[in-house]
Every structure is written in structure tokens, then in C-alpha cells.
Amino acid sequence: MARTLAPVVAVERSANEARAARRDRLAGAAFTLPALIWILIFFAAPLVLMAYFSFTPLSPTGGRGAIGLGNYRAFFAESAYVEALWNSVVTTAIVVVLSLLLAYPFAFAIATKVPRSWQRLALAVAILPFWTSYVVRSYAWLLALSPSGVINWTLHALGVTHHPLMLAYNPGATILGFVHFFIMLNTLTIYANLVQINPRYVLAARDLGAGAWRSFLTITLPLSIPGVMVGAFLTVVLCIGDYVTPQILGGFRELLLPQVIMMQIQRQLDLPMASTMSLLMTIVVAIVYLAMQRWLRMARL
């Protein structure tokens, strides 16, 4: 009897397992679907539309022209536009390097030197400027850098300068505004990574005779690279497409690509050319992502 029932039980069990697996798959799909629909409607569809627009340049009379690469040819033929893309890439690279150089020691000090009970407070103080609006922060820098601002006032009071310096409305002011913002972001990502590193690794290295620098360079630093890279990538994404900071602090001394994109829309409503430029910027971000992909481990944060 038992011998005859065994295959039936096995078949039933396998059917139950299949049903459970199907239920799991359906539940997984149901949970994923809202996010997927959201991404399709608000990211994928606009991206496809933008790509389509970029291939339909305006005709000389301002109407819709024939589908083709006209906008891309026009972009690369205009030195000022290519230069704007280059300026954006260079500015972003400088901001990434400076932000990381300043944020790393800061995050390291909070993670390893500040007592654990004080770390939360130290981190809250470190990211305090996040609480103010991005625009307000940029205007605050503009006031600080103005001819009657605190920096010029101090330089004058110390006898360093006799006339107010024009510190704002140049690429340096843009970089300053960016770095101020991205130090906070990078401090967060690096700190989150540093506190996950098992302190026993460093202790073991020290036991084996490695000095403080060697254990940092061979253990802590390599293990914190994912946090550094995530911070660097977020900085690239947010910095290269930002319009507010260069507009407020940089003026029009040297144009970045987002400013040129806005020129296309504000002055002529040339959405196809604006789409072309935006798509080129997206391609740059994608290239950066591919180059950094090896080190990007969000799960480590």
C-alpha cells in the first residue's frame, strides 16, 4: 500500500511546490509592478520621447524638420556647445576630486575618532547645511562673496586688499558652491561604508606589525572604496546636470551644458536641440557609470 501511495504523494508535493513557487512569483511581480510602471511612465517613456525629439530638428522656418542627425551635427559643429559639454565634464571632475579629498578625512574622523555615542550628533552637525534649500545656499554664498560680503570685508579689515574683489560670477565660485554641497553627500556615503568595516582587520594588521598608515592604506582605504565610488558617482550625476549653482554663482562667464540647454528652451523653445544636449549629457553619465560599475556596490552602504 505504502509502496503504491509514494509516487502519488511525491506528485502532490511537487504540485504544491510548483503552486507555491508560482504564488511567490506572482507576489514578487505584484510588489515590483508599481515601481516598474512608475519607471516606465516617468523615466523610460520620457527618455524615449526625448531621444525621438532629438532626431527631429527644427526647420529653418521654426517648424518640425525631417528626421535625421541634424541636431547632433549642429551641436558638434558649434564650438561653444562642445565647449559647454567639456566645461561641464571638467567642472564635475574637479568637484568630485575636491569633495572626496575634503569629505574622506571628515568621515574617517567621525567613524573612527568620535566616540560611538557622539557619532550620530557629529553626523547630524556635518549634514546640517542639507537642511537649507539649495537655492538659498547658493544665494548665501553669493552674499558672502559679494563686494560688500564677509570675505571682502575680512580681507579689507586685515589690510590684504584695498578694493573689493569680484569673487562671484566666475567658474571658481561655481566650484565652491558645488563642493560645499557635495562634501556633505560624500561624508554620508563614506561614513556609511567605514562603519561597516570590521575593526578586527586593522587590529590584526597592527598585531602583525603594520603601522597606522600601512594598515589604513592596505585595509581601510581599499575596503572603503565602494563608499567613495558611490559618493563620486552621485556627485557626477547631480553636479553635471545642475543648473542652479552655475546660474547663481557662476554667472555667464563660462557656460556649462545645463545653462546652454536652458538657453535653447527659454529663448527659442527649441525642444529638439535641448533634447539632443540632454541626451548627450545622459550618455556621459552612462559612460561614467560603466567605468565605475566595478566599484559601485550600493549594498555596502
Binding site: S79, L255, Q266, R267
Partner: protein
């Protein structure tokens, strides 16, 4: 004692009511829903309650306005709206032909408006009409010329259009970032006729603008350059005019503007009715009100920016007329050129050239 369950139900009911009220408010506030409104796409100078109040009261209507800062911005709003959502447009009159060509504007009857009180150069059909059909009524104008600080910039220097290029003022000049008047103004400095620019003129204009940029401390938008002049960061604003200095006349009497002896550029804005408007009579009444002496006085001295009223019978005090340089206007109009009327293709070329100037080291 209230049970937690009942408290939850009350809270949920309250939240639902708040949600319904919020959605209702959003629906009611849309232009299409409101019946007793006049929907206007306008620049910031038409938004003062003192200007709109008398019209709203007299016609028992609410003027619902949306702020725009360029014709392109207006077109972007129209692209997101249904036909009939908007009734009146305030626009730079250099774009009248372009907007009429797109079929957006309704023909107007000149007899409905006080054209007899508007100076001939301002009322010119070149800016208001297409093929003899009136589409825009001029309401306000002013200049893109030289604005300066009297204490640091010599009045005699201001009378010469070339002074912003003088190395003596290196680092003391601000340049207004709107390529159309700046290119025209530079063309005047080069002795060209700014109304007849062609591709062949552009290299010389570009070289001259790059030289100007090298002498300038900054290039900026309206707010930036106005702030720079007002705070003393710069002494002279290339492309500035009464729209920068007049509103600040009492707080900062040292600010001034002038038209150099070589001439200047004249901006001019007008009112149009949308072809799809369902309230054309009310829209016409609104334009008539803005063109009335009272409406013109208030528009000219708007809290956003001052400018010359198109109607010479505008109600203004003597002090306001002095600030606006009222008695100089006949000469100023004669020595200034209106904004260029361009094909979209030429406009693109000018914009690309302006980007090259801004990128120059």
C-alpha cells in the same frame, strides 16, 4: 472615554475631507473651471493689485495671471494648455509676426484703442500688424542702453556708446545677458544699421562683443546685473535702461541711464487676444483698461519694473515723469531702434554667436 477605533475613524474622515477639499480647490483654481475670470499670460509688471483691482471691480471679474518671462515661456505654457484656457497675452512686440503666423492671435480693431495718443514710432504697424491686420496693441516701452552710477561713471563718458570698451573701466562693467539688444547695441557701436543685420555683419559684432566681455566684470540676468549696479559691484551696465534705474530712483538716486549720441535699442511690449479665447469682448475691455490713462500710469510705475507708457496721456506725477525722462522721449524715440525682427534661422545664428561670446576667454 473615546475608543481608539472611533478616534481612528474620525481621523480618517478628517483626512478624507481634507483630501476632497484639496482636490476641489485644485479643480476650481484651474483656468478652464473658473467662469468669471480673465486668464492672462503676462510679465511681472501686470500683477500689482493696484493695477488689476479697478478692472476686476468694474467688470466683476477675477484676473487670473500666469507669470512668463519670454515669448518662448508663453509658448511652453500654451503647449500644456487647452485651446481657450488663456485670453490675453503680454509679449515683446518683436514676436507679433511669429505668434500671428502660428495662428495664435486674434485680429483686433484699431478703433477700439487710443492709437491717436500713442507716438507714431511706437504705434508703427511694423511691430503691431501683419499684412495690415492689427494683432498687438503697444502698451509700454523702454531702452537697452547705458545705465550707470553717477558718482563713479562720468556723464560725458555715458554719452559715448564706446565707453564700456574703454580700458579705464576694466572690471567695472556688467553686461546684460539678452543677446538680441546686446548684439544690436554693439552693431550701433560699430556704425551699422541694427535693423538690417545680415550674416556678413556677425564676425565683426562677435569680435567687438568678445572685447567687451574682456573688459567686463560679469555677464548676468536681470536680477544679477541690477543687483551688481545697485550694490556698487560695477559702475556701468551695458544694455541697462530705465527698467533698472527708475524703480530704484528714490532708494538709490545715483543710478541713471542715458541714450548715447550714437543711439540705442528700444524694447516694446504689447497686448494681444488669443484666437481661441472665448472671452474676446472682456479681453478687449482689459486691453482698453490697460491703455487708459489710469491703467498706463500704474503699469509704467509697476513694482516689478518701470517703463514708458505707450499712451502719452498716462496719469503720472511730475516726479514720476522726471524719473522716466518724460521730456527726453521724443529725442530718445528718434535715436533708438526697435528690436530686430528675425527669421527663426537668423535667431538661432545670433544665439549660437552669443554662446561663443560667453565662452570666449
Amino acid at each position: 472615554m473615546t475608543s481608539p477605533c472611533r478616534t481612528d475613524t474620525k481621523a480618517a474622515r478628517g483626512a478624507l475631507l481634507a483630501l476632497i477639499a484639496g482636490v476641489a480647490w485644485m479643480v476650481v483654481s484651474t483656468p478652464a473651471f473658473a467662469r468669471n475670470t480673465l486668464d492672462v499670460l503676462t510679465w511681472c509688471d501686470h500683477e500689482d493689485p493696484a493695477l488689476l483691482g479697478p478692472f476686476e471691480k468694474a467688470n466683476d471679474v477675477k484676473v487670473n495671471f500666469k507669470d512668463i518671462d519670454s515669448t518662448a515661456a508663453a509658448l511652453a505654457v500654451l503647449g500644456q494648455s487647452k485651446p481657450g484656457d488663456w485670453d490675453v497675452l503680454v509679449a515683446d512686440e518683436t514676436d507679433t509676426g511669429r505668434l500671428a503666423g502660428l495662428g495664435l492671435l486674434a485680429p483686433l480693431d484699431a478703433k477700439d484703442f487710443p492709437f491717436g495718443d500713442i507716438p507714431a514710432a511706437i504705434a508703427s504697424p511694423k511691430l503691431t500688424s501683419v499684412n495690415g491686420v492689427l494683432y498687438s496693441v503697444p502698451e509700454k516701452f523702454g531702452y537697452n542702453t547705458i545705465a550707470y552710477n553717477k558718482t563713479t561713471f562720468d556723464a560725458a563718458a555715458a554719452a559715448d556708446i564706446n565707453s564700456p570698451w574703454d580700458p579705464k573701466y576694466k572690471g567695472r562693467v556688467a553686461v546684460y545677458d539678452y543677446y538680441v539688444p546686446e548684439i544690436e547695441y554693439t552693431a550701433i557701436a560699430l556704425g551699422m544699421n541694427p535693423e538690417k543685420l545680415t550674416d556678413a555683419d556677425l564676425p565683426a559684432i562677435k569680435a567687438k562683443l568678445i572685447a567687451l566681455k574682456q573688459n567686463a566684470a560679469m555677464v548676468g540676468d536681470v536680477t544679477t546685473v541690477q543687483q551688481a549696479l545697485a550694490t556698487g559691484a560695477v559702475d556701468v551696465l551695458f544694455g541697462g535702461g530705465e527698467w533698472v534705474t527708475a524703480g530704484l530712483a528714490h532708494d538709490n538716486p545715483n543710478l541713471n541711464y542715458t541714450i548715447p549720441k550714437q543711439g540705442g535699442v528700444r524694447w516694446q511690449q504689447g497686448l494681444s487676444v488669443f484666437a481661441t479665447s472665448q472671452k474676446k469682448d472682456l479681453a478687449t475691455k482689459f486691453i482698453q483698461y490697460i491703455l487708459s490713462p489710469e491703467g498706463q500710469g500704474k503699469l509704467a510705475t509697476s513694482s516689478c519694473y518701470w517703463g514708458m507708457p505707450a499712451n502719452s496721456k498716462a496719469v503720472l506725477t511730475d516726479d514720476q515723469k522726471t524719473i522716466l525722462r518724460w521730456s527726453d522721449q521724443p529725442t530718445y524715440i528718434k535715436t533708438t531702434f526697435p528690436y530686430l525682427q528675425m527669421t527663426p534661422d537668423f535667431d538661432k545664428k545670433l544665439q549660437a554667436m552669443w554662446a561663443e561670446v560667453l565662452q570666449s576667454k
